[in-house]
Subunit: 207 residues, 2 copies
């Protein structure tokens, strides 16, 4: 597959949400222009993003919202469930356990890891907190494919290295540090201050 | 100013972090090619993103890391502090109060609002929890310019409407719902499942 940019994948996630909202509002058909307007981009961008994955919709007739949503779900890997583990059960971990959006999109947190002996063995929302020493077994038994890193920055690299050895290839990193991984592993950094910077840009340059 | 895309602003935030890391590692000069490689994009993209804001670096000599970081900080509005209020003190609110990245980039949470009478009047990390009824006064007194929305989805629109009336133009919305605002207001949605979708895309299509 042609290399798809992060920006394109991100926009596909936005189109997916746009379409979900439209379907909930009873809209059957939509043009690339309308999808573009809702997302404050150009219709050429919408058509280009979709063109990487085939031909959608009918020229002049627009897209069927249900069909396009299904197709984007398939592209994004949302037509199945994913087993997710979370490492680190501090403030961010606690917030994420109750974050309903993950479950809604098919991301199921089925294991928590922490290295605090006081936390290991406890259950949170029916999910057991395990010692990181047991990671290899649990990753295999539960078929964990994605790991959320919610440990302090100084432990992020070692934690990711450990889970790579356990066979995990995909990480969502909340620790605000850059980590190095092999080519067949993807780390997405969730840095919440990046969205705040879009706001300070707006207040400084646009408003 | 020419309309700058969300993707460009996002990449500027990434270049800013790349440069911060390089400066910490003692690197003085860098080419657009090297910035591109670190961020897995093309050097043409890096040069295009920067070109919206003027001419940086010297042809063939690359960029001075300190200078370029300063210039990007200025573009993103990071050369000053911003007073931020947070509305909703549940799990996400609790995680954000201790999120050091905000403070590091100049975003200071100076007020918390909640509508739970049990929480109003308490202090968290020396920040008082206020009733939303007092929003107008506090926004004015503390010069709040950015508001983080960490309330349940069903209250997000009404909360944002209320703070717009108090004079706030910029919102970071953690509630997983779309909200409608006037043209002179910007809402950025922090939907943490979007990054997970980049991982499921990777596992489905690339790995």
């Amino acid at each position: 597959m042609k290399k798809i940019s992060d920006s394109t994948i991100r926009r596909l996630s936005k189109y997916y949400r746009t379409l979900t909202g439209l379907i909930e509002s009873g809209v059957d058909t939509i043009s690339s222009n309308e999808i573009a307007n809702i997302n404050s981009i150009t219709s050429a961008q919408v058509r280009k993003d979709l063109s990487f994955f085939g031909t959608f919709g009918k020229r002049g007739l627009g897209y069927n919202t249900e069909q396009l949503r299904e197709q984007i779900a398939k592209i994004l890997g949302l037509k199945r469930n994913w087993n997710v583990a979370m490492v680190g059960f501090g403030n961010i971990g606690r917030a994420l356990i109750n974050y309903m959006e993950f479950k809604k999109q098919g991301f199921h947190i089925s294991a928590i890891f922490d290295n605090d002996p006081m936390k290991v063995g406890q259950e949170v929302e029916s999910i057991k907190i395990n010692s990181i020493d047991d990671a290899a077994d649990i990753v295999r038994e539960q078929n964990i494919e994605i790991v959320i890193i919610a440990v302090p920055g100084k432990h992020a690299q070692a934690t990711i290295d450990h889970f790579i050895k356990c066979g995990v290839h995909a990480f969502l990193n909340f620790a605000p540090v850059a980590v190095k991984v092999p080519d067949d592993v993807l780390v997405k950094n969730e840095n919440m201050s990046i969205e705040l910077e879009a706001l300070s840009f707006f207040l400084t340059n646009v408003k």
